[in-house]
């Protein structure tokens, strides 16, 4: 079972790297959106520094939404999902494997890119660590909850937009607590509090995400 799980992770990571359109596209989109911000807002360094955490989080959310539609759809269209649902690996675990590889190819590169973009936005020095930590904790929740939307819309042609609409409301807690960790510098203890709440959001999505996604996939396969 472990072998089946990791073979699926390996395959998905390899495919995302080979075909592109996965992490590479998300990171590029992240760069483009964030670099456009200072041009749009103007050269006010104080203002930029103030809104930097929020901008980075919003851009991270949008970039990870961008890659959601291919999470299950390609496998659904070519029949791979039929095969995956017949393995000795439960579909829930197969979904976890796919979510893990989605995070490895999308979430993780975005988190790594975030501090570099923080420099562009005049992010304050003491905010770098909390921000990166919060993104590390919060980004798995984006893949996990995004998977539910992707699974629900797997049989819809160009379902990416619909999946984004479905998932966006569930991303809001991640955004609120994520931004709070970095901008709450003034209040002592507020950062820790926000980080803990962000962790709670991720833990809940670990519990809910794989099961809900697998159920949605089954319903779509049986239609």
């Amino acid at each position: 079972m472990k072998r089946a799980f990791f073979s699926l992770v390996r395959r998905d990571v390899a495919l995302a790297v080979q075909i592109g359109g996965g992490g590479g596209m998300a990171v590029f989109f992240f760069f483009v959106t964030v670099t456009l911000m200072p041009l749009g807002i103007g050269p006010n360094l104080n203002l930029l520094g103030q809104i930097a955490p929020g901008l980075l989080w919003v851009a991270l959310l949008l970039s990870s939404l961008l890659t959601l539609d291919r999470l299950f759809q390609a496998d659904f269209e070519d029949g791979t999902l039929d095969v995956l649902s017949m393995g000795s690996l439960p579909l829930e675990l197969a979904v976890v494997a796919k979510i893990l590889s989605h995070w490895l190819t999308t979430g993780l590169p975005l988190v790594i890119a975030a501090p570099i973009l923080g420099l562009l936005l005049n992010l304050e020095e003491h905010q770098f660590m909390p921000l990166v930590l919060a993104m590390l904790i919060g980004s798995p929740a984006l893949s996990l909850m995004g998977a539910i939307g992707a699974a629900l819309t797997v049989s819809v042609r160009r379902g990416g937009l619909l999946a984004s609409l479905l998932v966006m409301p569930f991303y809001i807690p991640v955004l609120i607590f994520g931004v709070a960790t970095a901008s709450a510098g003034a209040m002592p203890g507020a950062t820790a509090q926000a980080t803990a709440l962000l962790g709670a959001v991720t833990l809940v999505s670990i519990v809910v995400g794989p099961w809900a996604s697998a159920a949605a996939l089954r319903a779509n396969l049986k239609a």
Partner: protein, 226 residues
């Protein structure tokens, strides 16, 4: 790269050590609904170890739906399906290989990577993957990405999933489509070897597959003839 050997499979049956526990699969009054429409009902058949069930019928008679239903990909709408024997405590869909119209292949992966993935995913061994390569004459294509394969070659690769890991029940949806005469003979050889090991094959087809020990189920007319 391994040299390709001649003949269906290239390996004699004595080289194959697999043997399945006796099993039987029978359907009584089986019905299937898809999209709110009854595709078929009152389908009855029994297949046992070593037998093949050839499902025929007009387009839309529900051949593919029957196979998807047996594979657990569609819910049973009525009647009953009983499965006895086979490996212990494994449900029907975990003892079956389903090869449908969609070939489940990724254009960017090579033939070797594809087989390796299936072997890992289904818990097969190296011998199974080698046997699959030879049985479907894919040895010369191992390093080619799937994107460059022809329709028949894709079909053969898709069918080779049957051999990378052992499962007693094969559900084949039009397995002969796009295959040339020689490949079709290989396929028949592979299926007969599977039957000889006590496996069961349920296949839909419009072509004539000359299989020993086969029953015919004609959907639409709802009767089984030996």
């Amino acid at each position: 790269m391994r040299p390709a050997r001649d003949g269906a499979g290239g390996l004699t049956k004595s080289e194959i050590k697999r043997h399945f526990a006796p099993l039987s699969l029978s359907a009584k009054g089986l019905a299937c609904q898809r999209g709110g429409r009854t595709v078929f009902r009152d389908v009855e058949f029994t297949v046992e170890s070593g037998e093949a069930l050839i499902v025929t019928g007009a387009n839309g008679a529900g051949k593919s739906s029957l196979l998807r239903l047996l594979a657990g990909l569609v819910d049973v709408a009525g009647g009953s399906l009983s499965f006895d024997g086979g490996a212990d405590d494994a449900v029907l869909c975990e003892q079956a290989h389903y090869v449908g119209h969609l070939d489940a292949l990724k254009a960017a992966m090579t033939v070797r990577q594809t087989l390796q993935f299936w072997s890992d995913f289904f818990g097969g061994d190296v011998a199974g993957a080698d046997y699959a390569l030879e049985a479907f004459n894919l040895a010369g294509l191992v390093d080619l990405p799937v994107a460059y394969l022809s329709a028949g070659q894709r079909r053969r690769l898709s069918l080779s999933r049957l051999l990378v890991s052992e499962r007693p029940l094969w559900l084949l949806d039009e397995p002969g489509v796009a295959l040339d005469v020689a490949s079709l003979e290989r396929l028949v050889g592979v299926i007969e070897a599977h039957q000889a090991q006590g496996g069961v094959v349920i296949a839909t087809t419009h072509q004539v597959l000359n299989l020993a020990h086969s029953k015919l189920l004609e959907l639409g007319s709802l009767k089984v003839t030996a």
